[in-house]
Symmetry: D3
Subunit: 161 residues, 6 copies
């Protein structure tokens, strides 16, 4: 049986830290679905469609990775794509507690799906989408932290604002 894992996130925008996790996951599972959470309390910088596009462009060299988006509960989407696992990246203790709580609840809601935590390279410990947006907003070069297509999109986005 093919083993598929779902990697849900906000990806506003995708960073090299996310891609490092996807690289790892793509070696462990037969197929990875990277999925953008539509439903957000705060307004994202990029629309769902833009975030899906930036992920697709950034991941086009991975032949067992696809990208989509979802509304509602992660476990429902996991069931709909026949995932056996949900992938989450862990970088810090503060990540850990929130992730742990979500993973316990998801286990309660869907006993057949395991949450699998992967750890990015230590050089991405300091990296998250919010820091990248912040740097880009003040005109810093972020080419070391995100794919080129994302840097271009950030420059365009902040030029308009």
């Amino acid at each position: 049986m093919i083993k598929l894992a779902l990697y849900p996130g906000t990806f506003d925008p995708v960073t090299n830290g996310h891609i490092d996790i996807i690289q790892r996951a793509s070696e462990l599972f037969d197929k990875i679905v990277v999925t953008v959470a539509r439903n957000l309390s705060k307004t994202p910088l990029f629309t769902t469609e833009e975030r899906v596009f930036l992920l697709k462009e950034s991941l086009k060299n991975f032949n067992n990775v696809t990208v989509d988006s979802f509304d509602g509960l992660v476990v429902d989407h996991a069931h709909s794509v026949n995932a056996c696992a949900i992938i989450r990246g862990l970088r810090a203790v503060s990540d850990f507690e929130y992730e742990f709580q979500m993973a316990l609840m998801n286990r309660k809601l869907a006993a057949d799906i395991s949450t699998v935590f992967l750890m990015p390279n230590e050089k991405y410990t300091y990296l998250n989408s919010s820091i990248v947006r912040n740097l880009s907003q003040f005109g810093s070069d972020v080419s070391e932290f995100v794919p080129n297509v994302v840097q271009d999109a950030l420059i365009k986005k902040y030029a308009v604002k």
Copy 2:
């Protein structure tokens, strides 16, 4: 290609929390090797051979799980069995930091092997081998926390002492 994961630990003795992790892992990977670390700074209650025996007895219903033991570095043993992943259970923040540090070092030493963290059922949050030994030493019933074969071994061990 077959996907094999190594689950290293002290297992002094194996608890239902460990078995919960192994159950999860056995659904995600084609084959699991559970491996007992021989080399310990403190003297274990059970010898390596006893710990391997108790694991084998406890896991005989899993048909894609085998048990062995190792000396030296985990990543060297992972290479010798052609593992693509090292499995670790995460229960608490204090686990997390130590595990994270080991995982980063192992990634440095063996870039081709990912550490995969799984989370036991929340009913095992409070459970570890040291608490089980402590309870058993004072004559408490530990049948809820360990397989029967382990409870028998604990009773025998503490009767001798």
Copy 3:
């Protein structure tokens, strides 16, 4: 002298985790006052009156527990009801630091009142009001996590929205 403890919170809405804490507290103190904080930076799902009602319905079998609401500082309300203790539930490290800081400040403001931390059953580790609201919003059954009266109120609330 009668020993009264105040259990302040947002209770938006009350969950089985809160009720587990109240059950414990009601066995340790002569009287418990559960009190809803009126003053909130973010808009709650339920009004203060609704939250008080749901607590009263959920707690009607406890004969030493009453429910009210308050504005202002917790220690001022604690003084007004002659409490010797403030009850707080602790589930995770992230709870801990915030709670600790509040408890130190409250101790500074009212040296005669102790903050008492109680721990819910581990099966409620993953449970909080925000997760319950989130599940309910997407139509999940939350009967395992909240009293029936709360589930009904959630269904009605989200049907209106």
Copy 4:
């Protein structure tokens, strides 16, 4: 019904931080039993008898506090003295996780007994028995951190060594 709480610990030796917790607890419960754990993996500086003596001397002004010692499991001793609660002091995140795990296990073993966490004054955040022993060993004045009878005992103990 009288409400009794058990405060177990190593107390090697008792510090002003412990006494601060006992002071608080003695105002919340009808009776407090402070109990010295006999059974220790590492050798304590003071014998069980010395630790009981130092506690008794330090606590003689509290008329609802008694001191004893115990072997075995804390919950068994709590039952034998009819305690409804076990008191623990919490100072830091690292305390928290260990204490949490013990409290969950104790709740499992004895559902009728609650663990109650109290917080010492923030001026005792940095204080523990091990730091006091360390300071005393190098001849520092520790009169600010422990009762006089304990300081005298420390001086005598290290003079002999």
Copy 5:
């Protein structure tokens, strides 16, 4: 060469905890520039100009400390004033992770500037600007927590509201 350190923050308003850090820093470095971050996601209680004024008044007895404000990235402002260090106060684990992440990113952006963490007196562990605003809003006396000029400004601010 003169050694200058930058102490950036929101200071909404400055508390005695901040002043304790500045006191420490002023003894370690030749010159300290305390700098108010203009750019904030949430609306501050005091305007940038008010926050600068309150800092200047509170710090007028320190002869090697100046106050300014900045827009943009901290490291850019640090370069513009020739700082060799960025000062940050650390009180709790939750501070730590966020600060650590910022410090790693700032090290990446400006390898010539070190982040230096200082620890306030333990009596300021429970103190932050948000708690002070909260207390003041409900009419509590905050003279123990902030300089007089700040208490006056808080009273005036909340009287207007």
Copy 6:
């Protein structure tokens, strides 16, 4: 007045993470004294003299850094060398709490000395002396983690054992 900082530690043995901290500190202070703690509960791999030697060899290119060793309390040694600061490296939350407690106690014992926390490069997050000893014991190449002189000493030490 010359500003001197003391950097105390076990250094068993010195790693590139320590040297990164010393590099940073040597740019912030006029003079750094790196000092080896003689007094240890567990037996170190290298003697105090060996640890001092390895530090001296590793640090000979820093012209404002000297190396010594001490018995007793860190603050007493800090006073004896006229230090205004004690340097400590911080890598993780678990470091943080212990360090914080020591820093608060040292501040209590010596109000004129500040503890200054510096953060190593993130590539040293996973690195500590114990991991280096462990790797070296099993014959791994540790040249990426320690100075050459230390690697040679480790090889010699484990060949003898």
